[in-house]
């Protein structure tokens, strides 16, 4: 019976040897980064777009030789858009996989949860899309944010108000999530400070079928501006039902997210016409590589990316740039390198600064887009606009 045992030993030795050899090889050539993303659940659409954008950027980076001769590999894990799952994934990234940096997540809720874990273990975390103000207002030293905070999403809209619209009354409807609440609170504070009368300030639960009751209330208040913040397809239902009820403010403005999705144009169809929205990025933005990213993405995946895709794409480049400058691939050196980031990306300039309550927060101009002839056009600020804004929007019944 000695022979089979010997053969078993040989096989075992070969297996173990082969595995450890491949592990060694892999360790010598790749650097893994943990990325939690919602690939299932209601936010899966965004998770998928970001995953594609991350992978597109990483492929480009690796094709050009990677970072210091090392290939970047993203370990993308599905959080289902649930903060508790995202927390568990990141705990595993840090304690078991020993990744020295975490990037990603989509919603504010999840990003905030992940940020707490990263801070606990002193591992740097780059927030890419989570926008609630509080994420970078905790004085956390390991949390860096690429996208502007929600309260700044409206900067472009504010300047449009001051220079063109000059509204007297406004109705604000927002999805009652972290993002919706932060963005609309910032809008309300601005309006209160600038003498714009807020006639309605109402949060709603995402995924409603029928918004007509509340829209009827909006109609009876006759505001100059109807401002809405919605993540998802609620944006198109709100617009469709506003058209049904023949609500005619001077302008409808969205607070980003749902109102900037390509699906918004398809689903709301003619009800989306002349609707404006705050946005962080458009393919017409004057940043190097912005248009190339848009065209390449569209060619590769047969769908249009919105600013979320651009954020993810830029995040991968910020990551590569940071790793190139880091003395070693340890959490401490990566954190030091992140702090010194000062670069231009397809999404815009990236530099982490601290002001007021914010720490390690990127700051950038935001834009306003408007749907004109069934296309998103950048209309504000004037320099860099791709089309002239239409204001006030014509009444629904007066349209052809």
């Amino acid at each position: 019976m000695a022979k089979p045992r010997f053969m078993q030993l040989v096989t075992l030795a070969l297996l173990v040897g082969g595995m450890s050899a491949s592990l060694l090889l892999a360790q010598g050539k790749t650097f893994k980064v943990g990325v939690p993303l919602p690939l299932t659940g209601a936010e899966a659409k965004f998770g998928e777009m970001e995953k594609q954008a991350y992978e597109m950027a990483v492929n480009e980076i690796n094709a050009k030789g990677g970072v210091k001769g090392t290939n970047l590999v993203l370990d993308i894990q599905d959080s289902g858009g649930k903060p508790e799952t995202a927390t568990a994934i990141v705990e595993k990234f840090i304690t078991i996989d020993k990744y020295p940096i975490v990037v990603g997540e989509y919603s504010s809720q999840c990003s905030y949860a992940v940020a707490g874990v990263a801070e606990k273990y002193k591992v740097p975390y780059l927030v890419v899309t989570g926008a609630a103000d509080k994420i970078t207002q905790q004085g956390w030293k390991n949390v860096y944010r690429l996208n502007p905070p929600a309260s700044l999403y409206n900067m472009g809209v504010f300047s449009f108000f001051e220079n063109v619209a000059k509204p007297k009354t406004i109705a604000i409807l927002y999805e009652n999530t972290d993002f919706g609440t932060s963005t609309s609170k910032a809008m309300k504070e601005y309006c209160d400070a600038h003498g714009v009368n807020v006639v309605l300030f109402e949060g709603y639960q995402a995924g409603g079928v029928d918004f007509k009751p509340i829209l009827q209330k909006v109609k009876s208040l006759r505001p100059d501006v109807v401002y809405m913040v919605s993540y998802l397809m609620d944006a198109s239902l709100l617009m469709r039902q506003s058209k049904e009820l023949d609500i005619n403010p001077q302008i409808f403005i969205g607070g980003g997210a749902g109102h900037t999705l390509p699906e918004f144009l398809q689903n709301a169809a003619e009800a989306s016409e002349y609707c404006m929205s705050a946005t962080l990025w458009t393919p017409q933005a004057k940043y190097p590589g912005a248009k190339e990213f848009f065209d390449n993405f569209k060619k590769k995946f047969d769908k249009e990316p919105d600013y979320h895709g651009a954020e993810a794409y830029a995040a991968a480049y910020v990551l590569a740039d940071t790793l190139k400058r880091a003395k070693s691939f340890t959490a401490d050196d990566i954190r030091t390198a992140l702090s010194e980031t000062n670069m231009m990306t397809a999404f815009g300039p990236v530099k982490f600064v601290s002001w007021g309550k914010f720490t390690n927060q990127n700051r950038m101009d935001t834009l306003v887009l408007q749907v004109i002839n069934k296309k998103f056009e950048t209309v504000w600020p004037k320099e860099g606009a791709s089309a002239k804004y239409v204001f006030p929007a014509p009444h629904w019944r007066d349209r052809k």
């Binding site: 690939l39 299932t40 659940g41 209601a42 899966a44 659409k45 998770g47 998928e48 409807l173 009652n176 109402e202 949060g203 709603y204 639960q205 995924g207 409603g208 079928v209 029928d210 007509k212 009751p213 509340i214 009827q216 209330k217 009876s220 998802l232 397809m233 198109s236 239902l237 469709r240 039902q241 058209k243 049904e244 009820l245 023949d246 999705l261 699906e263 398809q266 689903n267 169809a269 003619e270 009800a271 769908k303």
Partner: protein
């Protein structure tokens, strides 16, 4: 009458109209679940996911073959019936027959079925949001009422109105079917007492197939009617399963007219609550009523269901 009063009346009227129209759709969703509950004594937690499947069938029929969502009811109804029959025949019945398996496990099986369906949809149809862009999606019928010198303008959404009428026709047909046909009587007999029904020579197994098929077909019809006014994505089922559950409890477990009433109550509660209390807690109103009904009227609003 002052313009302020007229404005308030207009708001109230609009809120009631929206609530009732939406409630009609909810009733249709609840009917299927209540029917299944009555006969099989289980809550079908894959109900919303079955609706999701029907919504995708409608979506593809429209996108690929330009079939109007209302016409595609003729395809959706039989297809969903077959799907329901196969689920009962090949999944639920074998579990029911195994002695080692607790009866509650059929409910767990429906949870699993729901997960499988929504993840299959995610795999094949991707996570993208889709909609059925029919030409009449935002078509509206206005009704101007003269009241005390003031005009009150009420609007009826065309697709909601059509959905309400079709839901009404389907509901009425179900009543007639259950009351007048032999199969309908057999379903009611099985719901009342399965063993006695079997002793009377009813093939109760066949009746459970038909019941689940009908339940799936009804919620499928609701999905097809929802397509023109809503949007769809693979995980859309969950919230509608819980709505169907609330409706079934409101109506009294297994009470068919109760389910219709439950749907209307839920629709009205959501639309009244969102305007006069707070929009953010819209989904909470249904559940508050749900808890109150469970405490004070455990046999449902009509007091005829099983406690």
């Amino acid at each position: 009458m002052s313009p302020q009063v007229a404005g308030q009346l207009e708001l109230l009227g609009q809120v009631l109209i929206s609530g009732i129209l939406l409630g009609g759709l909810y009733s249709l969703i609840g009917l299927g679940m209540s029917l299944i509950m009555g006969v099989m004594k289980i809550i079908n937690l894959a109900h919303g996911e079955l609706m999701m499947v029907a919504m995708y069938i409608t979506f593809w029929a429209f996108t690929l073959a330009k079939i109007d969502p209302y016409v595609s009811l003729l395809i959706v109804f039989p297809l969903m019936f077959l799907l329901g029959v196969s689920v009962q025949k090949f999944l639920l019945t074998p579990v029911m027959e195994a002695d080692t398996v607790l009866p509650q496990n059929q409910v767990l099986l429906t949870v699993g079925l729901g997960l499988v369906l929504s993840n299959l949809a995610l795999l094949f149809f991707t996570a993208n949001y889709r909609s059925v862009p029919v030409s009449y999606a935002s078509k509206t019928i206005y009704w101007d009422l003269k009241l005390g010198g003031q005009t009150i303008s009420l609007s009826f959404s065309y697709p909601f109105l059509v959905a309400f009428c079709i839901a009404g026709v389907l509901g009425a047909s179900l009543f007639i079917f259950l009351a007048k046909t032999d199969t309908g009587r057999m379903i009611r007999a099985t719901a009342q007492d399965k063993r006695a029904a079997a002793l009377m020579g009813i093939n109760t197994k066949r009746i459970t197939y038909i019941t689940f098929g009908l339940g799936a077909a009804l919620v499928g019809a609701a999905g097809a009617l929802l397509d023109p006014v809503y949007y769809l994505y693979p995980q859309i089922g969950g919230p509608f399963t819980s709505k169907a559950f609330v409706i079934t409890i409101l109506g009294g477990l297994g009470d068919i007219p109760g389910a219709v009433l439950g749907g209307l109550v839920l629709g009205l509660a959501e639309s009244l609550g969102s305007v006069y209390i707070s929009l953010g807690y819209k989904d909470a109103f249904g559940f508050i009523i749900f808890v109150l009904v469970l405490i004070f009227m455990p046999r449902g609003l009509l007091g005829r269901g099983r406690a």
